[in-house]
């Protein structure tokens, strides 16, 4: 199982799913209409490291985080 966390203003509880690549996670999340806008403007981290492609292999216990637009300061 892979755990998906939605950070900051996305305000959605974490979900767990079976997935062996980030592409599979993307496909599953695209089915959720409430996430549509967030998927477009969020960055993605796997185990707290930002990633830039969907071909990331995932294994049991991995964490995928969605980071929506930021504004510290």
């Amino acid at each position: 199982m892979v755990r998906i966390e939605f950070l900051g203003p996305i305000q959605k509880p974490a979900v767990e799913m079976e997935a062996s690549t980030l592409a599979e996670v993307a496909e599953a999340l695209r089915a959720d209409e409430t996430l549509k806008a967030w998927l477009k403007n969020s960055a993605v981290a796997v185990n707290d490291t930002l990633v830039s492609g969907l071909d990331v292999a995932l294994k049991d216990g991995d964490k995928v985080s969605l980071l929506p637009p930021v504004c510290g300061g």
């Binding site: 950070l7 900051g8 980030l22 695209r30 993605v44 830039s52 930021v70 300061g73």
Partner: protein, 149 residues
């Protein structure tokens, strides 16, 4: 070197603490940047969420970059609510040289604004409203949206 606090920062105390911590470091320049909540748009204050694991690795990467130029960074940020005229953010650079310090405080603060995993909310009429219009998508955002991003 990265310090997170619940609520507003004690700015004089932090500026003093950092100055004294580095007083024997032989740094010729110390430049803090202090961010304070402005009274604008009818807000009562701001509120912040922080995702600490990625903030820490982002900060550590900057600290290494600073070390390569003989400099040192410190940063403090608030979690939760910060009211009008209180401060939520301090970034500081210590450097042997003035030029390095001036360049680094600017680059650090700008990258902080663009990349640090912190989310800002307006406190207005008792609500906590995501400051979407002032927020910046982190580089590479949209990855999960696929072709129609």
């Amino acid at each position: 070197m990265l310090e997170l606090y619940d609520g507003a920062l004690d700015v004089p105390e932090l500026l003093k603490k950092w100055y004294e911590e580095e007083s024997r470091g032989n740094y010729g320049a110390y430049i803090p940047f202090v961010g304070t909540v402005r009274d604008e748009n009818g807000i009562e204050g701001l509120s912040f969420d922080i995702y600490e694991p990625i903030l820490t690795s982002w900060f550590d990467a900057w600290q290494q970059k600073a070390a390569g130029r003989g400099a040192l960074l410190k940063m403090a940020h608030s979690r939760g609510d910060v009211l009008l005229h209180q401060s939520s953010y301090i970034a500081a650079v210590f450097s042997p040289k003035r030029r390095v310090a001036l360049e680094m405080i600017e680059a650090f603060v700008e990258d902080f604004k663009a990349s640090a995993p912190i989310w800002k909310y307006d406190l207005k009429n008792g609500e906590r409203i995501y400051a979407a219009d002032r927020s910046t998508a982190i580089g590479g955002s949209g990855l999960l949206a696929g072709g129609d991003a």
